[in-house]
């Protein structure tokens, strides 16, 4: 028999590689049913050596490539033999109940159909692990279960008629089944159990344990399926309260039947849940199950945060929150976020725990985590009046005390004869208290005090984390400077958590306690000064990027502003930092938005400025606007304009006499590289930059610049104030479209030229005469055509290279292949001789 098969496969037409055939084959439900019903007939399938068959087939493939012709010859020669073989195949399968469609196809049909199905299912599992959302996955699970149930109904019926003999029957069936069918059966069983549980959890609670057994199966896909279906079941049947197991005393007490039943149900559920969690936590460490387990844990935490064993779930989630695996991290983060946002589900306790766990996590990992793990804290929400009611309470207490005193006073005043009355009153009061306590215990309204306590605890944990990160950043930079820069700490890479920490501080700045503000400002000041102070001494110490330092400044201002409406504090040091950071800014490297935000918060929002300081900033921003892209210079110019509007004296800068007169103060000469804005002597200079900027290629900037330079003469100008941030964004958006609009833009400027004569004269002298335009466009066209040709050439060359390399590779492969095929041939020969 074996020999016949082998031969037959050798003769397989080479155009039909079996892998492709797999996908095309569709197994109808009827076929399956048939097989299911006639288990005994299908027995031969189990005896089929699928492994060797596959091997043969692949080898045939290999042969095809090499010696197609030889194969064809063989086929020609052995047509007679083939016929005999066909007969033998028929003989091999005396079961003519199986439909014979084509001679070759039949056998493979069976085997491949099984394997194909298996792989399909595995694929499903994998897919669900990778990307399906919760709801989708759930739906899918149910669907698969239903399908499985439908398919398995016939089988199930026959066996479930005698439920007592179920075990025996199952054992019997198992003997016959192959691995695949066992898998199928397990799946079905799982589905049945799950459906039964969902339909009537109280009656079928015991089957939870059975399902749990599946998770201990050897087959990985079964384990995965088991975990997922258990997850679905638990999500549905877990009650909306926390289960408290009865104490021994309570167990001793006599209870009604229903209570007993309920207790049994709860304890079974709890123990099964516990077992499930243990299994999950145990499997979490295995990389194979990691995704599935994390998904299970996250879904559970999301769905039933109020239930028992939440702590272990939280621990597992937080442990994975900084995972290097993107998928895992994202799931964990979203779970934690939803935990924070839907506090009603668990009454806020889980929030406190989670935040504290994150704090510990950060501590343990020494702040070397993915930024997401701290960014999660941003989605926390606190009551704004967190601090206020406490005061009221204090007042209440005072009042109470007073009342008590008064009462005591009154009581002492009362004659002793009223003893009886008093005792009566006391009992009444006691009763009232008891009733109130009971009511509190029963009612679901969150306790205000408790709520407040939890919030403050959460807040303290959050700020602990933030401060730890700040301190770590400082410490590490000092350490790295001591280590003489052996470790090349590249900007944000060294302090991954600083950015989310700073943004968090900015968000919760209004909640920071007054006592901490001093320390916080100190930290921020030192962090912001990190780069510049070390610049002169040693370059290697500079390990905070400009954006990070700008952020430090911004946060400092936010903290000050949100806390100190009453007291207007001048943050001199931060202004010095900003003044220097403007020079260090590089458009590609640093974030323009951050700079724009800093300009807005520090310069535009602050009402009062020193004249000297304002002048220094005006001068520096004008210089800055000259050097960088249109978006940055626009932001700078908008800030500059607002500064000039506020500080009338600084408009001396617009006048054309250098020296600044008496206003310039003690410093008679402008020092462009000075580090202190109030000592730069900017008032002694002239804003000549504006004149250049009014010839800027970008129409918006040129109009703004010329508007600013004429600010002094035109008295009643309409001031349109947009924030530098907005300006920056507008121009960034415009940047892409600007290239195309440029033609229109120049036309516009030409129009303007016609209107405003004063400007026109200056512009006309600088701009090339319009006659040249045609020539210029021609030249440009030629240039761009050349550029495009070069690019095309490059692309073609690249393609050529790729093809040649591919060809080379193929040839090498062929060379390697030949000895292998020779060997194969030999071995084949040897085997055939043995078979003979």
């Amino acid at each position: 028999m074996g020999k016949g098969k082998q031969r037959k496969q050798i003769i397989l037409p080479p155009e039909l590689p079996p892998e492709i055939a797999d996908d095309d084959i569709e197994v109808s439900d009827e076929d399956l049913q048939f097989v299911d019903e006639n288990k005994d007939y299908a027995g031969f399938v189990s005896r089929l050596d699928t492994h060797s068959i596959n091997k043969q087939v692949t080898r045939v493939e290999g042969v095809n490539e090499d010696a197609l012709e030889a194969l064809y010859e063989k086929r020609r020669r052995k047509t007679l033999e083939q016929k005999e073989n066909e007969k033998s195949v028929v003989q091999v399968d005396p079961v003519d109940a199986l439909p014979v469609k084509s001679l070759d196809g039949e056998v493979y049909y069976r085997t491949f159909s099984q394997t194909a199905e298996v792989t399909e299912n595995e694929g499903d599992v994998d897919k669900s692990v990778v990307k399906l959302t919760k709801a989708e996955r759930r739906a899918k699970l149910k669907k698969t279960k239903k399908e499985a149930k439908k398919m398995g109904k016939e089988l199930a019926k026959t066996e479930e008629v005698q439920p007592t003999q179920q075990e025996a029957a199952l054992a019997e069936v198992k003997e016959d089944l192959t691995a695949e069918e066992a898998f199928e059966a397990k799946k079905r069983k799982l589905a049945e159990l799950g459906m039964a549980l969902l339909a009537d959890p109280e009656a079928n609670i015991k089957s939870l344990k059975e399902m749990l057994q599946f998770a201990k199966d050897g087959d990985h896909s079964i384990v995965k399926l088991g975990l997922l279906s258990l997850l679905a079941v638990f999500k549905d049947i877990i009650p909306g309260y926390r289960i408290r197991l009865p104490t021994e005393k309570e167990l001793e007490m006599k209870v009604s039947k229903e209570v007993k039943k309920m207790r049994f149900y709860e304890s079974t559920l709890l123990s099964a849940y516990k077992g499930y969690l243990q299994k999950l936590l145990a499997l979490e460490k295995q990389p194979r199950f990691h995704h599935v387990v994390v998904r299970c844990i996250c879904t559970l935490l999301d769905a039933v945060p109020h239930f028992n064993f939440r702590e272990s779930l939280l621990v597992a989630v937080v442990r994975n929150i900084g995972s290097s695996d993107d998928v895992v991290r994202r799931i964990c983060c979203s779970t934690i976020k939803s935990l924070f946002t839907s506090e009603g589900k668990h009454g806020g306790e889980a929030t406190v725990e989670a935040v504290r766990l994150i704090a510990d996590h950060v501590k343990v990992h020494d702040c070397q985590l993915h930024p997401d793990s701290v960014e999660v804290l941003m989605s926390l929400s606190f009551d704004d009046d967190l601090g206020k009611p406490e005061v009221q309470e204090g007042n209440n207490k005072m009042k109470n005390k007073k009342n008590k005193k008064r009462k005591n006073f009154e009581e002492s005043n009362q004659p002793l004869g009223n003893d009886r009355k008093r005792s009566k009153q006391e009992t009444i009061a006691k009763m009232k208290e008891e009733v109130a306590a009971d009511y509190k215990a029963v009612s679901y309204t969150p306790d205000v005090e408790e709520w407040k306590r939890m919030q403050s605890e959460t807040l303290s944990a959050v700020f602990e984390t933030y401060f730890r990160i700040l301190r770590h950043t400082m410490r590490s930079s000092v350490a790295s400077s001591e280590a003489n820069g052996n470790i090349t700490s590249g900007g944000s890479g060294a302090h991954p958590l600083l950015a989310p920490c700073l943004s968090g501080l900015g968000k919760f700045s209004h909640l920071i306690d007054m006592d901490y503000i001093g320390d916080l400002m100190n930290y921020l000041k030192r962090l912001a000064a990190r780069g510049s102070s070390s610049d002169s001494s040693a370059q290697k110490v500079q390990n905070l990027t400009v954006s990070e330092r700008l952020r430090c400044c911004i946060v400092a201002f936010k903290v000050m502003r949100s806390n100190l409406d009453a007291l207007n504090v001048d943050l001199q040091d931060f202004f010095v930092q900003l003044y220097n950071l403007v020079l260090e800014y590089r458009p590609g490297r640093d974030e323009g938005e951050v700079l724009a935000e800093a300009l807005k918060i520090m310069l535009c929002d602050d009402r009062q400025h020193d004249m000297q300081k304002a002048a220094a900033f005006i001068k520096r921003l004008a210089t800055f606007a000259l050097c960088f892209g249109s978006a940055e210079s626009m932001a700078a110019l908008v800030t500059l304009k607002q500064l000039l509007q506020r500080n009338v004296k600084c408009r001396n800068l617009l006048e054309n006499d250098a020296g600044g007169g008496s206003v310039s103060g003690s410093i008679a000469k402008y020092q462009p590289y000075g580090s202190d804005p109030s000592l730069s002597g900017a008032l002694a200079s002239v804003l000549w930059e504006l004149n250049l900027l009014s010839k800027h290629y970008h129409p918006a900037i040129s109009t703004l610049a010329s508007g600013i330079s004429s600010m002094n003469s035109a008295q009643n100008q309409v001031y349109i104030s947009i924030s530098p941030q907005q300006a920056f964004k507008n121009l960034l958006l415009e940047a892409e479209s600007f290239e195309y609009n440029q033609q229109g833009g120049t036309q516009k400027s030409n129009k303007r030229k016609g209107r405003s004569t004063a400007l026109a004269s200056t512009l006309a002298s600088v701009e090339p005469p319009p006659v040249d335009e045609n020539e210029v466009s021609k030249k440009l066209r030629r240039h761009f055509i050349l550029l495009r040709d070069i690019k095309e050439n490059e692309r073609l060359r690249g393609e050529l290279d790729r093809t040649t390399s591919a060809l080379q590779l193929y040839e090498e492969y062929k060379k390697q292949r030949q000895p292998a095929t020779l060997k194969n041939k030999k071995s084949k020969k040897a085997r055939t001789t043995v078979g003979m």
Binding site: N568, Q572, L679
Partner: protein, 193 residues
């Protein structure tokens, strides 16, 4: 008129340092453009009749022509040494301090007058304050339009100021520009001497 000796120099510098911090360097190294020389000279401190003057080098050279007894004043008077040997800054040095001040306090317009009558600065009159002032630091007082009004010593740190009640003293008065009017006689006497 003579240069300060070492003890006097430390006394003067310590006092000014309280107000200006590291900007003291600017005061000392400030180039002077007085006199006919092409090269800008420097400023220096000179002691004359218990008073300390901030003078440019070229002026010092020219002042040697005047007899010591006849010299009433030279350059900017910065302060004077008391009989006990302490150094006190006087209001004339205000411009020098204001240009290099490290700690500043801005007064609300309503409380400017009060300060100009030699009263202390109260929390209620505070318009703005630089952060990180420690008690005991020298503070220059400005009006909201950045006009220097005088100087004093901080009584409370910036941190403490937040929780202070409006009547508490923030800056202790030392000198203000009201003195030019109030003590007109005294100043005249000094010059006449």
């Amino acid at each position: 008129m003579r240069p300060l000796d070492e003890k006097e120099t430390t006394a003067v510098f310590e006092k000014i340092f309280k107000f200006t911090g590291n900007n003291l360097k600017n005061i000392v190294e400030n180039p002077s453009h007085e006199g006919p020389d092409k090269e800008p000279g420097r400023y220096c401190f000179r002691l004359h009749k218990n008073k300390v003057y901030y003078v440019s080098d070229s002026l010092v050279k020219r002042a040697t022509n005047v007899a010591r007894t006849k010299l009433a004043s030279i350059g900017t008077c910065v302060g004077r040494f008391t009989h006990g040997g302490n150094f006190h800054l006087t209001i004339e040095c205000l411009n020098l301090l204001a240009a290099n001040a490290k700690h500043k306090v801005w007064l609300k317009p309503t409380s400017e007058m009060s300060f100009l009558y030699a009263n202390h600065v109260l929390k209620g009159g505070l318009g703005r304050i630089t952060e990180s002032i420690a008690p005991g630091d020298g503070v220059v007082v400005f009006s909201m339009s950045d006009l220097p009004l005088g100087f004093g010593v901080a009584a409370k740190s910036t941190q403490d100021c937040r929780k202070l009640d409006p009547n508490a003293i923030v800056v202790l008065h030392q000198a203000d520009i009201g003195e030019y009017l109030r003590m007109e006689n005294q100043h005249e006497q000094i010059i006449e001497e």
